[in-house]
Symmetry: C2
Subunit: 482 residues, 2 copies
Amino acid sequence: MPSPDPTPVSESRIARWDLEADVAIVGYGCAGACAAIEAADAGAAVLVLERAGGGGGTSASSGGLIYLGGGTPLQTACGFEDDPEQMYGYLMAACGPAPDPALVRPFCEHSVEHYGWLEAQGLKFKPSFFAGGHEPPGDDSLTFSGSENVHPFRELARPAPRGHCASVVGPKGGVLMRTLLGAAERRGVQLQSGARTDRLVRAADGRVVGVVARLDGDDVCVRARRGVVLSAGGFIWNDAMLARYAPRLLRTEFKIGTENDDGSGIRMGAAAGAATLRMEAGDITLPIFPPLSLKQGLYVNRAGQRFLNEDAYMGRAGEFALLYQDGQVWMIVDDACFERPEHVPVEIAAVGETVAELERELGFATDSLQATVAFYNRHAARGEDPLFHKQPDHLRPLDRPPFAALDLRPEHLPYAIFTLGGLHIDADGAVLTPAGERVPGLYAAGRTTSGIAKQGYSSGISLGDGSFFGRRAGRAAARLST
Amino acid sequence: MPSPDPTPVSESRIARWDLEADVAIVGYGCAGACAAIEAADAGAAVLVLERAGGGGGTSASSGGLIYLGGGTPLQTACGFEDDPEQMYGYLMAACGPAPDPALVRPFCEHSVEHYGWLEAQGLKFKPSFFAGGHEPPGDDSLTFSGSENVHPFRELARPAPRGHCASVVGPKGGVLMRTLLGAAERRGVQLQSGARTDRLVRAADGRVVGVVARLDGDDVCVRARRGVVLSAGGFIWNDAMLARYAPRLLRTEFKIGTENDDGSGIRMGAAAGAATLRMEAGDITLPIFPPLSLKQGLYVNRAGQRFLNEDAYMGRAGEFALLYQDGQVWMIVDDACFERPEHVPVEIAAVGETVAELERELGFATDSLQATVAFYNRHAARGEDPLFHKQPDHLRPLDRPPFAALDLRPEHLPYAIFTLGGLHIDADGAVLTPAGERVPGLYAAGRTTSGIAKQGYSSGISLGDGSFFGRRAGRAAARLST
């Protein structure tokens, strides 16, 4: 289905306003909810337009990790030292190419305050650290959610776990969103659900003054006296946009998002003159951990070469595999470390009593994979990985037959993906034109924007920057500026 | 210096038109000249606004290769078989990710006609093929200008040389542009040089009806009764745009272009509602050939691994080196194949009587590079390259000491770069909005647009698609459509 025309409507063509508010917010995931709370606290009458039957969006079905740091009370209570400078050092190194200091700097400097704000909304953190290196399966609230403690980042910034989540067993995104939506509701934020918003309304002077939504088949004109916040998600469910801007993401079908992540916010913003940034970028997760034992295995390409330390965050592995190795990737394991991935089905591409047999079965050049494994084993026996610097706790010679190759090509394993490109915003969540000017009256946050992560990703960054800049967008929209 | 504000001017604010034409063309390189000729042939009065003192632009200082094929008379005369389907197969494979069939298809199907048109403008081709695999140093007119005859492309489409150039010893871009500019002049095309154009003029209904140029410090309002063509080059000379959209291109400073390639055409188009595509893309050339003997060497990364067949086109090598190996790349040579690159200075990172010595001096892990070279030599002795499939004529064991490593990191060797991202156009050269609608009255071609090459590149594609879609943009602009 072609996307609806996002061209802004002229205010002069609006016969009457069906609904009015100070601030209109399009999309009620994490970014929209935080914008709503802050706008209400700034004294604005807030109306949220949500396409689904209720609030939550992709955030509600997410893992619920929020990237926070710089020395939060939770980090301190769990015995970890952190400060904004170390957090900044990690994010600038890990979220490239070329993260925007104008966003990363305040995100780090005010992260402790943001943590306190989330607590004040009712989010409960438990001072308990999960050492597994992924989303806590239990009720722990802190985990390493990126590549902070592995090469090369551990050498660039002092590692600290920054994945924060609500203390609850099981899915944590739902608790996060119930908490935020409740906080918004208590402040009198109005919700119009089932409202599909595809066009902004613009005054003669270029200022965004409202939106037009479709509700039960009718056009509903919504006046926003102070500003509009676009927090309508990314575009992972829009194949035409993917084909145009981020075609490599079309190679896998495990889309993280709801079907409403069809880029409508980005298209509305761009049609109103906003710049879009890094539209090619996406989080690309190779979701084979847990089990952690697989980190003892070896990622290899078609030449039988390793290309990354296997203890890197899965989003980094996916980036390297899909973007830099063209998706031609396998994992070599032996009997001692093989367990089936918990979250995805995996195909076994080859099994052999020897690595030579595996190599043959994979159709790799003779002695390519054998040389790789022999070199690795020789050093792993000494607790070393001179080529890719995997941490010693995952180093062990692969010498227990049978050996197997897991097929990690995107056509064979569901990489989890969502888009990271979107509208260009400044640190206030104001939407910018290609010339760097603000589009008057227009704000945005979450995956409708290009935020902290420009390609490199760590878990929790989307809820992190969505909540952080969502708040700022809500505050800025509530101030009537000209 | 900040870029000038590209926001379109409302027609209602134009007190009087200083200049008028049917078609106004911004930028007088290859795309602009071809647009001018076709618009004039379609009966339009044409005015070209050029920022420099005269026409030519980056095209005039380029190598002058034009990507043409499908069975041109020159290909046939030189004994090469080609057809549009093979040309299409190559370009779709080599210009990805995801080249746009809507552009590539007509580019291939009408390439023979386009060749004839270029001849009709006065361009002289000599039926003589240069076998060196790069720009002909003599007056030959045909050469392989991409990776057509190497792995993996030779297996995907029947190889044919498609780099066509004017038969002249020495620089060929100048001859091309003198020919095209002369053809335009003979048709009465008017040129206003020294005119800096930064804003479009838009009517109340959204139609682009002119431009505002700066001439000797004054604003000059130019009415375009039928249409405006943006052919103002790319943005390789705009560091702020590179930082935003294509930060990896900032790692090297050998910019292919004139200082006028500052993105003004793209910014004007985007400010008028146009979509931009693949803004991250760039041609990235690792310009170490000639001498061809270096193709006997080995590209290696910091792990001492090869990653590409060394006979790949230099634009493919640059893409792999900078984007997929993070620029951490060296070339290993022995005494038998080493000669200094003709076009760039090269630093010798290490020299050794043995590969082991080289490996040590480079700080590579013991036995990493040695294993790579030993594996390569063993197969090269049999004329085979099982890992990367380099053609047999470049395969020879590296066994003649001393050995050396050439430093190919972008901080040490000037990669030649220009941008490939830009405005979204259709096959008529009409500029499209994010919703896929035409911006009425606005056309574009050349590196102001995202054209045939979405990242993968072959020499001659920019003059190829610039001239081809420049012609179409000129024709379309000359038709007064609504």
